[in-house]
């Protein structure tokens, strides 16, 4: 990489705040619904997630990392392996404890099925579950320890992919990818997995950084099959980066597109990045994306790399849209505990253009020639929504140690979770957390493991970054606020980064992680996903209550962990002449008979267990003004009782609203053969006639209630159960 003298001129150091302040979220923290009201959970339904590319051969091992995101329940899932020819193998069910993790060894499972674990096989994975939402996060890791090669693939809900209907989707789908060459011997491959039950023809078009065609591959992928296409044209191309377009006729997700780049001679490997191309009608938007923990200079001695190991960061961009894209990069690094930044001039990417950033030149231009440590590269992006595809990481001078980072969209969220961490067998998980706000924030990093959890409070100054290894936390053996430590026998688990007031507190944070093994020279990026709400419901959806009566409304969100929160705020009434609604509590009070709506506001993050796949979304947020129906009725008082005056309707109550002169009759379904008895008193204080039967030694007494609720038009009762039934003696029930 050559240093560009213009860089100095383009660089604007912004060590003090010159841009608009980015504030941390300051929104009310939703209150958890009482446990007694949390049940029932939404009805379970069969679902599945699909994805990944798994590969086995004498050197390649494939592992499925599973995490149960539920706090309230264990979950049992069924992994299905699809071979490249579409054949399906069902693996034994796996039960995960609440928030638990497990690893499924594909080679070992194939061995159990009578297939040699060293057979050269490939395919994709489906994980079936029975829950109201996708209750697990899954990552597939393909490792060749012999050659120090590792690939990590995410999984996503199969909802989009299950296109087994007879309907022939006619829309063309294009998945766009990005390739780059760390060095000249790097080769690449693309794997297409057909998740449907019909053969899918597809075209893979490879272009250079200017969009000039380098090669085209036309293939057909059999139902549930997988085809791996070698991109030999990469090695002969003089370009160092370019694009890959995979097009097919079908819905998005019908083809699972994955890939990788490798040079087995030096142990280099990196994932090819693919994402859905934005549509022609996509809006122009602004987005912030961060690449966290890019290593610069000498390796951290704590990470135990061989002496003399130095790292160089890389960052490659592709504009996937048909319009120009503007990207403004900013470096962020820590200096004496204070966040520093250097903003670069905006870059312009023409449609489909790919470009590698000369990161080291930019680092030097920022005055960091001798810097050893990690930096964050943040991008202010203006262009079509979802137009920018990025790949980034750090590589050592031998191209053997590759630390890929997953570019993350920056946005307000609730907690974020890490699907799996490991300190087993020489591995360690490195986590980088960045506070992108211009004000301090406090977080809690919660490590979950079999048998317990550990809370690590973390304070971040404005724009501060912290990088740490899980092994440090385990080795410190410092009790947390609850007195917990992580037993040294624990070597794996998952983690969640949330606000100090709980997972549902809104925070502004970016987090990345990778699990590396110095001895094996492998590092796989981990699945970091957005926790959030899976469903929302107004409770009650509608209600009837009397003038002066009250009704509590709640807008309840079910969090991905299974817990429920009241997320409605700023309550109001659509018709204050009918009912008022207390702004902060959602308590409605009837004013006059009629119909109205109790209206709430909410803005909450959505659960995205798919963020571990190759895309750069920030956590999605749902907002709106949900409504609950309110029927304010008129109070009715018991004024008369018919007991055995009519053989067809032997017992009924007459009700009246004396202000409106509304009269209604409530017939009570009673068995024949009863008698009238006095039991209780009427609202006037006179004896109340009830209806009583005596059958098989059981006395059953039916009594109309004293007060009911009728609609404003005086045509019907709004409440239910206008009578009581009591049975004697005990045991008659």
């Amino acid at each position: 990489m050559s240093r560009n003298p213009d860089c100095l001129a383009r660089l604007h150091l912004t060590l003090s705040a010159q841009q608009p302040k980015v504030l941390a979220p300051h929104v009310p923290i939703p209150q958890r619904i009482a446990k007694s009201q949390e049940l029932p959970l939404a009805p379970a339904k069969a679902g599945s997630i699909v994805g990944g590319l798994w590969m086995t051969d004498p050197n390649l091992k494939s592992l499925i990392y599973l995490k149960n995101v539920l706090e309230v329940s264990p979950i049992t899932v069924t992994p299905l392996l699809y071979l490249s020819n579409g054949k399906q193998f069902r693996l034994p069910d796996v039960t995960l404890e609440p928030l638990g993790t497990t690893v499924v060894d594909i080679n070992a499972e194939l061995q159990k099925l009578g297939i040699a674990s060293y057979a050269t096989l490939s395919g994709y994975v489906e994980i079936q579950y029975n829950w109201a939402w996708a209750p697990l996060c899954a990552t597939i890791r393909v490792v060749d320890v012999e050659h120090s090669v590792i690939f990590t693939y995410g999984m996503r809900p199969a909802k989009m992919a299950n296109q087994n209907s007879d309907a022939e989707p006619s829309a063309k789908t294009v998945a766009k990818g990005l390739w780059w060459k760390q060095e000249s011997a790097v080769s690449g491959f693309v794997a297409l997995s057909n998740t449907t039950s019909k053969a899918l023809p597809a075209v893979i078009a490879v272009t250079d950084n200017r969009g000039t065609a380098l090669g085209t591959h036309g293939i057909s992928v059999s139902p549930h099959g997988t085809k791996i296409v070698q991109l030999s044209e990469l090695q002969s191309s003089p370009a160092n980066e370019g694009g890959i377009d995979v097009s097919y006729v079908g819905l998005a997700g019908a083809l699972e597109v994955n890939g990788g780049m490798e040079d087995l001679s030096v142990g280099y490997s990196a994932n090819l990045r693919f994402a859905q191309a934005p549509s022609a009608s996509s809006k122009i938007s602004e987005l912030n994306i961060a690449e966290l923990g890019l290593m610069v200079g000498a390796a951290d001695p704590m990470m135990l790399f061989p002496a003399g190991t130095t790292f160089t960061p890389y960052s490659v961009l592709r504009n996937m849209s048909d319009t120009q894209l503007s990207v403004t990069p900013t470096f962020w690094w820590m200096e004496a505990g204070i966040a520093r930044s250097a903003q670069l001039k905006a870059l312009t990417l023409s449609p489909n253009q790919s470009r590698s950033l000369d990161v080291m030149s930019l680092v030097s231009a920022a005055g960091l020639e001798n810097f050893n440590g990690t930096v964050n590269l943040a991008f202010d992006v203006k262009g079509k929504e979802g137009a920018l595809l990025l790949a980034a990481g750090s590589v050592d001078q031998s191209n053997n140690y590759v630390f890929e980072v997953m570019p993350r969209g920056i946005g307000e969220s609730a907690s974020k979770s890490l699907g799996h961490w490991s300190t087993a067998n020489g591995e360690d998980t490195m986590v980088t957390v960045w506070n992108p706000a211009d004000e301090a924030q406090d977080f809690v990093f919660r490590l979950m493991f079999s048998g317990g959890h550990y809370l690590l409070p973390m304070h971040f100054g404005p724009r501060a970054t912290r990088t740490f290894n899980i092994s440090e936390i385990v080795q410190n053996q410092l009790p947390d606020a609850e007195g917990n430590i992580i037993p040294t026998t624990v070597h794996e688990g998952s983690a969640t980064l949330g606000g100090t007031h709980g997972d549902v507190e809104h925070i502004l944070v970016a987090m990345d992680s990778g699990t590396y093994n110095v001895r094996k020279a492998t590092c796989g990026s981990s699945c970091v996903y957005c926790d959030g709400y899976t469903t929302f419901a107004m409770t009650p959806g509608s209600a009837s209550f009397a003038v002066q009566g009250t009704q509590q409304y709640q807008f309840i969100g079910t969090y991905s962990s299974g817990t429920k929160y009241s997320v409605g705020t700023n309550w109001s009434s659509s018709k204050t002449a009918v009912t008022t609604v207390a702004s902060s509590t959602g308590v409605a009070t009837g004013v006059s008979p009629g119909s109205a709506n109790a209206v709430a506001y909410f803005s909450q993050p959505l659960y995205q267990g798919t963020i571990c796949s190759n895309s750069t979304p920030s956590c999605a947020v749902a907002s709106g003004n949900p409504q609950g129906g309110a029927t304010v009725g008129q109070s009715m008082t018991l004024v008369g009782i018919n007991c055995l005056a009519n053989p067809s309707y032997p017992y009924s109550g007459n009700y009246n609203n004396r202000v409106t002169s509304c009269f209604l009759n409530s017939a009570i379904p009673v068995p024949s053969g009863g008698v009238c008895v006095n039991s209780g008193v009427t609202p006037q204080g006179t004896p109340k006639q009830c209806y009583q039967t005596n059958i098989n030694g059981c006395s059953t007494t039916y009594c109309v209630v004293n007060n009911r609720l009728a609609d404003s038009a005086c045509t019907k009762f709004l409440d239910q159960n206008g009578y009581t039934v009591s049975k004697l003696p005990a045991g008659c029930n």
Partner: protein
Amino acid sequence: MTKRRNDSTAGFARAALRSFALALLLTLATTFHAAVDVQSDPPHKKSAFVVSISEARVDNKHGVTSTDCLLVSADGRFRLERRQQALPSPNATLSIFESLLDSAQLERIQAIVDHGEISTLPEYSAPPVSMDVPWFSSVAVRIGSGDSGRKVGYWTWQEGTTGPPVVAAEVKKRWRDSEAALRSLLEWFHGIEGMKLLPSEASPTQCAADEP
């Protein structure tokens, strides 16, 4: 008298009919010609009202409850709402009619409510009793609107086998007096009910009127 009256109610209805037969005939003759179909600007929206009449009959023997009400505005427009619930139906059917009285009719109804007998009636309050009887009826009349408005009325019932409701003698007398004083108004009301009126699409109000 309408057919909705059952045998039990016929006694008190016949007495009323005898006393005011002539007045009723005159009233109905005028009203039939004077009622004009009006579908816009319901009376409760604009004008102060002259009178609101509500009559409910609960017939436990036949399982039928009917609640009819009429609201007459000062400009002659009127609204009639008729509800009937017949067990085992849990709901009442509702029919709404709107029409217009001519000035003569309006003067007539004004004269009835301004009559000294009615204007001196005591305020009507609901009975502090439980009507566990074969049938009972309630009539409530609101005359005028706003603070100057008054509510008068009465209850009647047929005493059943479970014994009569315990109603104080003075209350019984007050209701009897009210029934007598309001008889001409009730006859006029029944006359309106007997008219052939076109149904209205207006929303039900239970003859409640916005205060002017």
